[in-house]
């Protein structure tokens, strides 16, 4: 007994544990994965929005995948504001040109990146959005300027189907 040699029994134990672990894993995974978004949720992937009624300086909020999306037709001043900011002043540096391909239109998820509240329009220290929950201030490009939120409001995938219709998703 002084020397511990690997024998047939050790091999059998190890092999049994290994097969057992695979079996448990294969049983547990469906139980975990059932909680992920199901096929019917994923099927609601895109929404088309008519934006013909929007005049400059107005925002509409639409629901996409259960989340609010802000569509804002920006004024000249707002665009100038957003484009004149130095990247060094930003917590999450991102050019306005990259966020709004067509400068007049800003499309982004109306979800504060802190804890998911819906920020309020035309509010806050940067004349963009202000989140009432924990005090995050966003600028006219939806970029985080002040407060606990870590990143800018997310720009979803979208395209202009025609001059008056935006397809989100």
């Amino acid at each position: 007994m002084s020397e511990k040699k690997t024998n047939r029994r050790d091999f059998l134990f190890t092999a049994t544990y290994a097969v057992g672990a695979v079996g448990v894993g294969a049983t547990v995974w469906p139980m975990i994965d059932q909680m992920n978004p199901d096929a019917s949720v994923k099927a609601l992937a895109s929404t088309e929005v008519d934006v013909s009624s929007l005049t400059p300086g107005k925002t509409i909020t639409v629901l996409w995948r259960g989340k609010p999306v802000f569509i804002r037709r920006r004024t000249e001043d707002e665009i100038a504001d957003a484009r004149s900011v130095k990247l060094d002043d930003l917590k999450d540096p991102e050019k306005d040109e990259d966020r709004a391909k067509n400068p007049e239109w800003l499309v982004m998820l109306g979800v504060c990146t802190h804890l998911g509240c819906v920020p309020l329009n035309d509010k806050g220290d940067y004349n963009g959005w202000f989140c009432p929950c924990h005090g995050s201030h966003y600028d006219t490009s939806g970029r985080i300027r002040k407060g606990p939120a870590p990143t800018n409001m997310e720009v979803p995938k979208y395209e202009f189907v025609n001059a008056n219709t935006i397809k989100i998703g």
Partner: protein, 420 residues
């Protein structure tokens, strides 16, 4: 546990007990020697058991009428309030019962902190208690989501988003918790399931909590080990049963006051507005019993660090038996600790207050100072105090200070045995 072996008197009882010793257990519970100096702060264990049973019974009856679906949940709660016979009563008992449960658990926890009940050999009782407390918070949070009002929806959004602070996998975890890309019907149904499950987990843990308690027996206001059974103890029944029962009656008066006279004062009016994913209420606050931790979350300007601070504030309690280096249990004999104890109580109350206020200006400053002090208390003051503090002399027994003691241990022991 009593020293003598228990034998049922009747033949049938003996026959049954030999096969399943339930009567031995019942005998242990009635004879269980309890320190005779337990004060009313010790009655909250029984009160908490009552709260748990109340929540389970009212919860089961509400579940018979409630519909866990995003389109129908809000209306089904109104249906309970307006149409179901005594539905208003059952729901008000359940909703206020949660608050009463937390009121009692906070008194129970602060009782432990004052009398050092978490110290050796009672660490496991304490840690099980902390797990129960965590489960209570989870159950209360998910229960608050079920009526699907504005506070339900946005509370659920904010709290589940806490997980998005985790680097790399955070977003994936949040989507997994939601079962979608926002809080929606799949979230509601799983919260209902878990809200139904957790009380039974708590019930199981309560059995372990009491089991672990019955190994060393109760701590007491003097905080010394007592011989069991001895003239320092009384049997649980009838002495403690009567005392617990009286305290429970007093507690039920407070409970009934809330249920019948001001059933909505502890809730938030916005939760009578149906959930709307497009509009966040101007001022989101959790229920009062979570406010101190909410204040800690908001006092840290960084998202991840704020979440870590909030969780640490709760989990630090589990390490308390090792952070408190003093061998003396009861604050009665620790003049300095007694003062720091009351400062901590004030600190937690202040955190609760600023947690309900907007996170700006002076409130934010106060929240930051109070958060810093909270951690200072557990991480610096307690460890140092245990080593530095000059404690008062601790009596040799519960009876000694009353019958007149002596510094001489042997004389005291003789005296005790002669009284017996």
């Amino acid at each position: 546990m009593s020293d003598h072996e228990y034998t049922p008197k009747s033949k049938a009882g003996k026959w049954f007990n030999d096969r399943l010793p339930l009567l031995t257990l019942a005998n242990h519970l009635t004879d269980y020697p309890t320190p005779k100096n337990l004060n009313y702060w010790w009655t909250f264990g029984g009160i908490l058991t009552f709260c748990l049973i109340t929540q389970i019974v009212t919860g089961l009856t509400l579940a018979m009428h409630y519909i866990a679906h995003a389109d129908m949940a809000f209306e089904s709660v109104e249906h309970i309030m307006r149409d179901v016979n005594y539905g208003w009563l059952i729901r008000y008992i359940h909703a206020n019962g949660a608050s009463m449960f937390f009121l009692a658990v906070y008194i129970h926890i602060f009782r432990s902190l004052f009398y050092g009940s978490y110290k050796a050999p009672r660490e496991i009782i304490w840690i099980i208690g902390i797990i129960i407390y965590l489960l209570m918070m989870a159950a209360a949070f998910m229960g608050y989501v079920l009526p699907w009002g504005q506070m339900s929806f946005w509370g659920a959004t904010v709290i589940t988003n806490l997980f998005s602070a985790i680097p790399l996998v955070g977003e994936g975890i949040v989507t997994w918790l939601w079962g979608g890309y926002s809080v929606d019907n799949p979230t509601l149904t799983r919260f209902f399931t878990l809200h139904y499950l957790i009380p039974f987990l708590i019930l199981g843990l309560v059995v372990l909590h009491i089991w672990a308690l019955h190994v060393p027996g109760n701590n007491n206001p003097v905080g010394i080990d007592v011989k069991k059974p001895s003239k320092d103890t009384v049997p649980f029944h009838p002495y403690i049963v009567i005392k617990d029962g009286f305290a429970l009656l007093m507690f039920m008066i407070v409970f009934a006051f809330f249920v019948f006279y001001t059933p909505n004062i502890l809730g938030h009016a916005d939760n009578y507005i149906e959930a709307d994913p497009l509009v966040t209420p101007a001022h989101i606050v959790p229920e009062w019993y979570l406010l101190p931790f909410y204040a800690i979350l908001r006092s840290v300007p960084d998202k991840l660090l704020g979440v870590i601070a909030m969780l640490s504030a709760i989990l630090i309690l589990a390490a308390l038996p090792w952070l408190d280096t003093s061998k003396i249990r009861s604050a009665v004999f620790r003049p300095l600790y007694k003062q720091f104890y009351w400062i901590l109580v004030a600190d937690v109350l202040i955190l609760g207050y600023v947690g309900a206020m907007p996170a700006e200006g002076l409130y934010l400053l106060v929240a930051r100072v109070a958060t810093a002090y909270y951690f200072l208390h557990f991480l610096v003051i307690l460890p140092v105090l245990g080593l530095k503090e000059k404690t008062l002399p601790v009596p040799l027994s519960i009876t000694e200070p009353i019958l007149g003691g002596t510094a001489n241990l042997a004389t005291a022991r003789n005296k005790e045995s002669s009284i017996k």
